[in-house]
């Protein structure tokens, strides 16, 4: 079976500075893969490279068996890659409902199902996104990505800077999505939650994937060496 997403020896540059030196990721349909590493190791860069917000320079990126490494980012999103970017980045001057409708594509996820997942968005439906709390903006960012009806959801630091209670709500939602069968690539600082939810882990060190395997096999020694915990 072809993996849903595959990165093989992917390298990327910011100008003349090389940021990725060979990233390998294999994500199968229905899997949750955690992309892990200390700050500055290339997690967000890898995500940007998958979505082609940053062009890769070498290697192969395939999604659903198609080489997507040269496609424009909107086409990659249209193929089913839904990105929840770091820092939420909702459209500030659109209301919650407008943010969701603006990105809607036909499929299982629609306004009501997103509101079922995050009832708070229903309560704030007519509010401008820039008046929401950080947690609500994060819910909106996830909802917005779900409205594109993705096959693969990419969550980049989805719980960063949120209150513990709100984090739990986000993790509960991610768990619901996993059990609904959605494939997820996730980056987060909360190791405990990541290990609870992820099927597989990929460790990045200085822009290179140095370990990949089943989450349960991630030993304390590996965590100590590559994650500093």
């Amino acid at each position: 079976m072809n993996p849903l997403l595959s990165l093989k020896d992917v390298t990327a540059f910011y100008g003349v500075s090389q940021a990725l030196f060979g990233v390998n990721i294999t994500l199968n349909q229905g899997e949750v893969v955690a992309l892990m590493g200390r700050n500055g190791m290339g997690k967000t860069t890898t995500i940007h490279t998958i979505c082609r917000l940053l062009p890769h320079s070498d290697g192969i990126i395939t999604f659903k068996g198609t080489d997507i490494s040269t496609l424009p980012s909107y086409k990659i999103a249209q193929m089913g890659v839904g990105l929840v970017p770091e820092g939420r980045r909702c459209f500030p001057n659109l209301t919650v409902k407008e943010n969701l409708i603006a990105t809607a594509r036909k499929g299982e996820w629609e306004l009501m199902s997103v509101i079922d997942l995050f009832p708070r968005l229903g309560e704030r439906e007519g509010q401008f996104a820039n008046t929401l709390s950080g947690g609500e903006q994060q819910m909106l960012a996830i909802g917005r990505a779900l409205m594109t009806n993705p096959t693969l959801l990419i969550l980049d630091e989805a719980t960063e800077g949120l209150a513990p209670v709100v984090r739990q709500e986000i993790w509960a939602a991610v768990s619901t999505l996993k059990h609904a069968g959605l494939s997820i690539l996730i980056v987060d600082k909360s190791l405990k939650e990541l290990l609870r939810i992820a099927d597989k882990c990929v460790l990045l060190e200085k822009g290179e994937s140095v370990w990949a395997g089943v989450a349960k096999e991630l030993t304390p020694a590996l965590c100590d060496r590559y994650l500093g915990v």
Binding site: C51, P72, K75, A77, R89, N93, T95, A102, T103, M147
Partner: protein, 329 residues
């Protein structure tokens, strides 16, 4: 609360224009009716620009190209109809016409087509380069019109009689006003429908952050291009009505001053406010009439007002009247 108040102000502005024209009709003041007609026409042009500038963030300094194109389409078709000559004979024979029902779709289509051609090239740039490229295209067309003797060149093209509309005497100022007023209503409804549609929301999202819309599967170039084309079509319609109002069209409609004036209507009234262009055009023409009667330097006061609006009231006149910031400002 703000939205309700804004809706009320919008209704007052819209109905107020109609009432002003009707009162002028009852008082037999055709000049006031003509002013109200000008307000309606310039508002339509502003609504067209507002779609691109306000909602799409496309600061076009070349909308005179579409306004003028619409105007010249009306002028050329009417002129050929008057002289009973063909507009062109190859590949098909195309006769002139003085029927508004024929002229409008042709003018809207051709203006939108020009917007498509200009948009395809200019939307690859952004910021100051976009401003300069749109300006350059409009100026190219302006100089072309000046040097085109077949249609009057620099002297312009008179149409002598106003184009016709079934059942109405378009030479009667109030009847022509009503035509323009209906078009104003249609333009406002169209713009409102667009802005609240998924496409309109994507357009506003594109203005706010292009990278964000690409990451959710929207092609920003396509969204902006479609908005620019619709914008050009609406502005072209305004140009057609303006030619009918004056029964004359000259290359000055293509000039950068025309682009600037349309932009002033939008900024004065309120950028990305649906009724902003109507408020802006009404204020502009009222100032032109009142201050213009007192001093020939009335534009100095207009300039000061514009400075004030830009510096202190980014929501424009509508923003001041609603005492609140609009969702898109």
């Amino acid at each position: 609360m703000t939205l309700t108040r804004e809706t009320a102000i919008n209704a007052v502005l819209f109905v107020g224009l109609l009432i002003a024209a009707l009162i002028a009709y009852l008082l037999d003041e055709p000049f006031i009716i003509t002013m109200a007609t000008k307000v309606a026409i310039f508002s339509i042009a502003g609504i067209g620009l507002n779609l691109a500038l306000g909602y799409g963030g496309l600061v076009s300094f070349g909308h005179a190209a579409f306004f003028g194109f619409g105007g010249y389409v009306a002028g050329i078709l009417a002129n050929h109809a008057l002289n009973n000559t063909l507009v062109f004979s190859w590949p098909i024979e195309m006769a002139g016409t003085n029927s508004m029902l024929m002229i409008w779709p042709v003018a809207i289509f051709l203006s939108a087509l020009v917007a498509l051609l200009i948009g395809v090239l200019s939307l690859r740039t952004s910021g100051v380069y976009f401003i300069m490229i749109t300006l350059a295209f409009a100026q190219m067309i302006y100089y072309f019109a000046i040097s085109w003797p077949a249609y009057g060149g620099e002297d312009g093209l008179p149409t002598y009689i106003r184009n016709s509309f079934p059942g109405l005497n378009t030479l009667n100022p109030i009847e022509f006003f009503l035509i323009c007023f209906v078009w104003l209503g249609v333009s406002l409804m169209l713009c409102s429908a667009i802005v609240h549609s998924r496409f309109g929301l994507a357009l506003q999202g594109t203005r706010q952050n292009e990278q964000r819309v690409t990451s959710v599967g929207i092609d920003p170039f396509r969204v902006k291009l479609v908005a620019f084309v619709i914008s050009g079509g609406i502005t072209g319609l305004a140009g057609t009505l303006y030619t009918d109002l004056n029964r004359f069209v000259s290359p000055s409609v293509f000039s950068w001053q025309t682009s600037g004036e349309i932009m002033v209507f939008v900024i004065l009234g309120g950028v990305a406010r649906l009724f902003g262009p109507l408020a802006g055009a009404a204020l502009f023409i009222t100032m032109e009439f009142t201050l213009g009667g007192m001093t020939e330097h009335w534009q100095l006061w207009l300039g000061l007002l514009l400075l004030f609006v830009v510096l202190y009231t980014p929501g424009g006149l509508i923003g001041v009247l609603t005492s609140g910031r609009g969702k898109d400002v």
